[in-house]
Symmetry: C2
Subunit: 312 residues, 2 copies
């Protein structure tokens, strides 16, 4: 199977998994349940759960305990998009060619759908705890049970912290403030902060959670964080490059939108050539560190290279 | 010490605790950190953490492990108010005589502050896990450690579920839909649903979490859920009664606002006399069930009666 087919089969499996973890669409609160499902369907590449699962597998993980975390991660990513698109934020009516959540369900429901997805992510993590408690009852091995509980609790903390004010939300706050009409031109410090937190934090958390749940060592975990950080930054720079160089048909969204919005990006600060060179350097470093871990990681390796060389 | 003094000293202690668990106001994302603290300060009576703590104590709990949950509960309650007040929702500029969060910080920051508080609640719960892990390391008693982990995980699930689509958010969704300009008059079924979920769910969760963390039995936990459900409903009906019978000065917000907003309440359906009788019946039942548990609960008992007889 070639890489793109393999990737598609993973995306399909993740979509299936998301369906299982999203609540049934019934009851008086049906609208928000529909809107949650709609929002998750609009979102796209399932990169974060994919990175989580591949990192988990790389460190020998074989259990279904990673699945609630994969679903939770995608719900958090989705909620952030739903709230980003709101009229008071980016005021976007379309995402990936489909109407955004608030465009379909109205602004109030857009806010509540985001809230519901964020909350549901943490409800979903509770299912990993339930699995572990079930396991404890079955085996009666308290030492092993404690070890599993600790892993899950640590994975949980990683998810919560990386999604919060010192993670994704923190980056989003600075981004919103920098975008304000009366804001000063963004400083390089702030741009780095936004890239690291707004886009980087969840990707890092995804790989870290995979490693934590599989029982990677502290040293391995540190390397995984570095790899994820480089991949996240390379991915973001590539996004900025594509905004300048791609075409509308390929990208599926207006090109040059950053320039039109007077938005400073990595390319504005560093120029196109340096930006391309940095993407190359970051991804080569990430892949070389990955190889250095000495684990089977063919798909993860290809996934990183694919993201960097993508044209949309 | 009389009851009101005792209550005030508990409110002070909870405010102190909230300060400890809210993040320091520094870094590039300072605005949202300030806004989180501002929002928590505006919110008021700290009833939910108080109910949690008292239930915990009633079942013999003495550990600080309940504290992160108390803080998390108040953060969730606060985020729900911040989002409720947004222009796309109730569009309220004042709460308890102070400007609402979006009125001070703008709409985008109002959305993000709510998100940050909800997320921070779950970050805060992670601190209870950390405490328990620390304890496991110190004692090396794996059986006891497993027991504590299970309690915390169950308390965590209770928090997440009761705050979510089958709890508070679910109630809020139905409330928003019923408030829409083109909505049909609300049915009794929907009103009950909203009362049970929007206002009841977090109060129930508060008492349940207190009981779970202290190791109450399943039977005791079931009684606690019933008590909390009755207290929550009585509290909400009392709110509706006050909206009709109180004065502006006493209540601190416009009276008759429900009628002006064409909002059907318990009083609309049942009339004032029946509503008053129901409050009395519900609170008497709750107190009698509480007494039936045979635990020391003087303050909790008085707290329930106080809430029912309050005039604002």
């Amino acid at each position: 199977m070639n890489f793109e087919n393999e990737m598609q089969s993973r995306v399909d499996a993740i979509n299936q998994l998301l369906k299982c973890y999203l609540p049934e669409q019934e009851g008086l609160q049906k609208t928000v349940l529909e809107a949650m499902s709609y929002s998750v369907d609009v979102g796209g590449k399932r990169l974060r759960p994919m990175f989580m699962q591949e990192t988990y597998r790389m460190f020998g993980g074989t259990d279904s305990i990673v699945e609630p975390f994969m679903a939770a991660m995608e719900m958090i990513h989705t909620y952030s998009l739903v709230h980003d698109d709101l009229p008071a934020m980016d005021n976007d009516m379309y995402r990936r060619g489909k109407l955004t959540t608030h465009a379909v369900y109205g602004e109030a429901m857009g806010i509540l759908t985001g809230d519901a997805l964020l909350n549901c992510a943490f409800e979903t993590v509770a299912k990993a705890f339930d699995m572990a408690m079930q396991r404890e009852q079955e085996t009666e091995d308290k030492t092993r049970a404690c070890e599993v509980y600790r892993r899950i609790m640590r994975a949980y903390r990683t998810l919560a912290v990386r999604a919060g004010i010192f993670g994704m939300i923190g980056g989003q706050v600075v981004d919103v403030e920098s975008d304000a009409k009366d804001a000063k031109p963004i400083s390089r410090e702030k741009l780095d902060f936004i890239y690291e937190l707004k886009t980087g934090a969840l990707l890092e958390a995804s790989m870290e959670i995979g490693a934590i749940l599989a029982g990677a060592s502290e040293e391995e975990l540190a390397v995984i964080s570095e790899i994820a950080s480089k991949v996240g930054l390379a991915f973001q720079i590539q996004d900025d490059i594509l905004d300048v160089t791609s075409t509308l048909e390929v990208l599926g969204k207006p090109i040059g939108s950053d320039e039109k919005n007077n938005k400073s990006t990595y390319v504005t600060f560093e120029g196109l050539d340096k930006s391309r060179a940095d993407v190359k350097r970051l991804s080569e470093e990430a892949v070389s560190q990955l190889d250095g871990l000495g684990r089977e990681c063919t798909f993860l390796r290809e996934l990183i290279l694919f993201l960097i060389h993508r044209i949309k």
